[in-house]
């Protein structure tokens, strides 16, 4: 607008002069525009050269994080006005010099007083219509008054960009003169060039209708506890510019004045960090330059928080997704917000902090997924035996309430999934319930070498839970003594295959026909006994090739349901499925448990406590090695021994 007007005046100098004369004599002045066309030199940041900045005015973002410093320069062949402009060559994502470009123009002196201005303005054009971020106030010294305008779409002709100053009175000593950040997401990975010229702060007089927002203008509610740390984000301000267009900038918290309606419940600092200090309700709001910001955070503290039990698994046996007790693997998110699929669940983005303890609070729960498959490695839990999670239900638990945990392996690529449900009887309200779920109970999962999603599903039967200590672990079993059944009078647990008088009724099938009691090939370690069961899973055999052992008496599950075997496998991390059946195979239960090592005897446990039926007589044990649907046998030979129930 200013420039067009300037041209107009140049075009009609005589007209200008005469109108001036006429209206002066009629006691009416020309409008005051002419007086406003001058700016202090300190207003300018870059015209044909950096103004009032040192030669080292550009500071790149960190090259160690991928910022490309080679694409920054000036161009004496392109200018909006004058002879030179700043030229930015945005690299493609595979550029060895860095995949994006950006940085700041910094006043290396004492800083500038920008209180007399209301906007940063500049002209920009691109070789293509890409999306770039600009701003000011970022000084790499805390960025206290940073203002960013994201998603500025470049045009191939010069276009002016106006970034309003939310509260010029704050900028008494500002060093962050300009900022840009550009990548190729908006161009699908194609490199491009853009030029910037005539960067200056201005007093436009037309930056108006300021509408600050916190939390993106939402009124949010958070049930929480003393010690909780919450951050007020989503800080923006929308202005209406002289051209009638709205512009929304992201605003640093330094421009806002935050306040709490009840500081006995919650306090808030200058950065918008809220600390919950007492039981009750408090509302945190903000103003910017005296204008009430839209949006608020209401916290309802229930008082002291009872943290989840501290896990005691040895870290070497743990793959942790979310726990302060362990180093967590990277995750894509703790809430995937699959809203298009009907998800209502809020929370977990990010987890909340209560007295230094990170914890996830899912509200409006129907289902929610924790992702490890997009931009982070998926989890290989083949050597793990259990999933642990602590859940604190924040509402009464009614009959029929449930939380189902679902694991998905190899997301989107022949994925498999398995689920385990925690029923209402095992959920606890207002307290922590700790759940150690054998991974073998996720029976449809098959492999667990690429776990990508862990879902909590309640179908809204439970809507508010705290979750903590989500991790996989390998249960380290103290090996049981070897079973000496040489004097046994019937084939019944415990079985050590040491009897020379009993007939062990073992039948191999579907490719594992070559299964029988045989000599221990490796009488060492935890199993030095002489006789074991040898089972060959023939090459090309069915994935469900296995062997059954008929018992003379049913398994006694009355005291314990922990089923143990010693196993010798040439392969680590493969599932071994154990199925227990009644006489006519009208009732059966089955679980997977993985080998954790190879070519050595190890003891594995199958915990049938969650699935067994006390009224059924289980008289047949079926064993499947490497039970992975669709994966045929490969000629491996497996051994097992010492079948027993341990307490």
């Amino acid at each position: 607008m200013m420039r067009e007007k300037t041209y107009k005046y140049r075009k009609f100098p005589a007209f200008l002069a005469m109108v001036l004369l006429i209206f002066t004599s009629c006691e009416r002045d020309l409008d005051e525009d002419a007086d406003l066309a001058t700016f202090p030199s300190i207003a300018e940041v870059y015209t044909d050269n950096p103004v009032n900045l040192t030669d080292e005015f550009f500071i790149s973002f960190d090259p160690a994080e991928g910022a490309n410093t080679a694409g920054f320069g000036t161009d004496d062949n392109v200018a909006y006005e004058g002879t030179s402009s700043i030229r930015i060559d945005v690299p493609d994502p595979n550029d060895p010099g860095g995949s994006f470009i950006g940085g700041i123009f910094k006043d290396r002196g004492a800083g500038r007083n920008l209180t007399g201005f209301d906007a940063l303005t500049f002209w920009v054009k691109g070789s293509t219509s890409a999306s770039v971020e600009f701003g000011f106030g970022t000084d790499f010294e805390g960025d206290k008054y940073a203002v960013d305008l994201a998603n500025v779409t470049l045009s191939t002709y010069w276009r002016q960009v106006i970034i309003p100053i939310p509260d010029p009175a704050k900028l008494v000593q500002e060093k962050g003169m300009f900022k840009f950040a550009a990548g190729t997401i908006s161009t699908g990975g194609l490199a491009y060039t853009f030029w910037i010229d005539e960067i200056r702060f201005e007093k436009l007089g037309t930056v108006a209708q300021p509408r600050p927002k916190i939390l993106l203008g939402q009124d949010q509610f958070q049930q929480t506890f003393n010690g909780s740390q919450l951050n007020i984000g989503g800080l923006t301000e929308t202005f209406n510019l002289g051209n009638g267009q709205d512009v929304t900038v992201n605003v640093a918290p330094g421009y806002f004045d935050f306040s709490s309606s009840n500081t006995a419940v919650a306090t808030v600092n200058e950065f918008g960090a809220v600390t919950v200090v007492g039981a009750g309700t408090a509302s945190v709001t903000a103003t910017l330059a005296g204008i009430d910001a839209e949006g608020s955070l209401t916290v309802d503290s229930q008082g002291e928080f009872q943290p989840a039990p501290i896990p005691d698994e040895d870290p070497v046996n743990v793959i942790s997704i979310f726990s302060d007790a362990y180093t967590n693997v990277p995750v894509d998110y703790y809430n995937g917000f699959f809203n298009g699929d009907g998800q209502t669940t809020q929370g977990g983005a990010p987890p909340i902090n209560i007295n230094g303890d990170e914890v996830i609070n899912y509200t409006d729960l129907n289902f929610v997924g924790i992702g490890t498959f997009l931009n982070v490695p998926s989890i290989d839990a083949t050597s793990m035996t259990h999933l642990h999670v602590d859940i604190n239900v924040q509402e009464p638990v009614d009959p029929g309430d449930f939380i189902t945990l679902v694991l998905i392996n190899s997301v989107g690529n022949d994925e498999t999934s398995g689920s385990v449900t925690i029923n209402s009887a095992d959920l606890v309200s207002g307290e922590w319930g700790s759940y150690d779920i054998p991974l073998g109970e996720f029976t449809e999962l098959g492999s667990r070498d690429q776990l990508g999603l862990l879902f909590f599903v309640s179908d809204a039967s439970i809507s508010n839970i705290y979750v903590d200590n989500i991790y996989y672990y390998k249960e380290v079993i103290d090996p049981s003594p070897n079973v000496d059944d040489s004097a046994a009078t019937e084939v019944a647990l415990p079985i050590g295959f040491q009897s020379t008088t009993l007939t062990y009724d073992i039948i191999g099938f579907e490719g594992a026909e070559d299964t029988s009691v045989d000599a221990n090939p490796d009488p060492s370690g935890i199993n030095p006994t002489s006789r074991v069961v040898r089972s060959l899973k023939a090459s090309g055999g069915q994935f469900f090739a296995g062997s059954l052992l008929n018992l003379d008496s049913p398994i006694d599950f009355s005291a314990s349901q922990k089923f143990r075997m010693k196993v010798w496998s040439p392969k680590a991390g493969i599932p071994v499925r154990v199925r227990l059946e009644d006489q006519n195979n009208t009732a059966g239960i089955e679980l997977d448990s993985n080998t954790t090592t190879s070519n050595v005897w190890e003891e594995i446990e199958w915990d049938f406590s969650g699935v067994y039926n006390p009224s059924v007589d289980y008289v047949r044990i079926v064993v499947f090695f490497e039970f992975i649907p669709g994966l045929p046998g490969d000629g491996s030979t497996y051994y097992y021994d010492d079948i027993q129930i341990v307490d």
């Binding site: 004369l21 009629c26 009416r28 020309l30 436009l204 009638g244």
Partner: protein, 278 residues
């Protein structure tokens, strides 16, 4: 304020420039030679409303247009005009005309249009109002005069003087326009004024005309930005008889188009005073 009259603005621009230039020179001479007379002519306050009594506007000064007229008052306007306090009320020394987004009598918006018709009608003088305007796409505030013989001779024969019109999407620009036979709607005689470094929605400005025999001067605050005389209009000069005053806030219509998702409601037009001098 009838019909869209902005289409020919650009093509008229150069022509207007020359005209204004010429006329300005003429005025220049007039001011120099007869300045006292010019000032005296329009400093005698003959009618005013300062809107100092809280409540409903003075029924001795103002009447209302109610409803939607025909085709949204001839312009495809979207509001339903009411005389409710929600749409027109005096508070803190200001007339507030407020456009609201609400379902009302089949319309999506309500607002108000106040007239001095039958209460105050006058030929010639300085007509001015001090106002702060609403903002946002779809707002169409106006301060204008319509010929008192409108019902006898019809529009545009009655004549229309738009002292101030604004599109809410152009917060620095207003326009002053005349409509008459042979120069109305898209062919009206109009000129825009751009505040450039000020806005109409954040500050009060005085919008006025000086209207005498065979001339109408348009000004904003202390800036005279246009003069229209019979030489400027390609038809009969119909501005030598009585007119009445209208102040309204339209929503939508063919001047600036309908509101969009960024338009903030409600929107209020503040009128500090309307004054007429002889």
């Amino acid at each position: 304020m009838n019909q869209n009259k902005n289409q020919n603005f650009i093509s008229k621009f150069s022509w207007l420039m020359i005209t204004v230039l010429t006329l300005s020179l003429f005025i220049f001479s007039s001011c120099e030679t007869d300045e006292t007379q010019e000032v005296v002519n329009f400093t005698n306050l003959v009618w005013e409303d300062d809107f100092n009594a809280n409540g409903a506007p003075n029924p001795g000064n103002w009447t209302y247009d109610i409803g939607t007229g025909v085709d949204g008052w001839g312009n495809g306007e979207l509001q339903y005009y009411t005389n409710r306090a929600e749409n027109a009320v005096i508070e803190n020394g200001m007339l507030r005309i407020t456009a609201r987004q609400e379902n009302f009598e089949g319309s999506q918006y309500t607002s108000a249009r106040l007239l001095t018709k039958g209460l105050f009608e006058k030929r010639y003088g300085r007509f001015e109002a001090r106002m702060k305007l609403p903002w946002g796409q779809g707002m169409w505030p106006a301060f204008w005069l319509l010929g008192s013989d409108f019902e006898e001779v019809g529009w545009p024969q009655c004549g229309e003087i738009d002292v101030m019109e604004n599109r809410g999407s152009e917060p620095t620009i207003i326009s002053g326009t005349v409509h008459g036979p042979g120069y109305n709607a898209g062919l009206s005689i109009s000129k825009e004024y751009d505040f450039v470094n000020e806005r109409v929605d954040t500050d009060f400005h005085v919008y006025g005309i000086e209207w005498g025999p065979n001339y109408i001067n348009f000004y904003v605050d202390d800036v005279l930005y246009n003069q229209i005389t019979p030489e400027d209009v390609p038809g009969e000069w119909v501005f030598n008889d009585e007119f009445y005053v209208i102040i309204n806030l339209a929503v939508g219509g063919r001047f600036g188009g309908p509101p969009n998702e960024n338009t903030v409601f409600p929107q209020t037009m503040y009128v500090d005073y309307v004054r007429v001098y002889d």
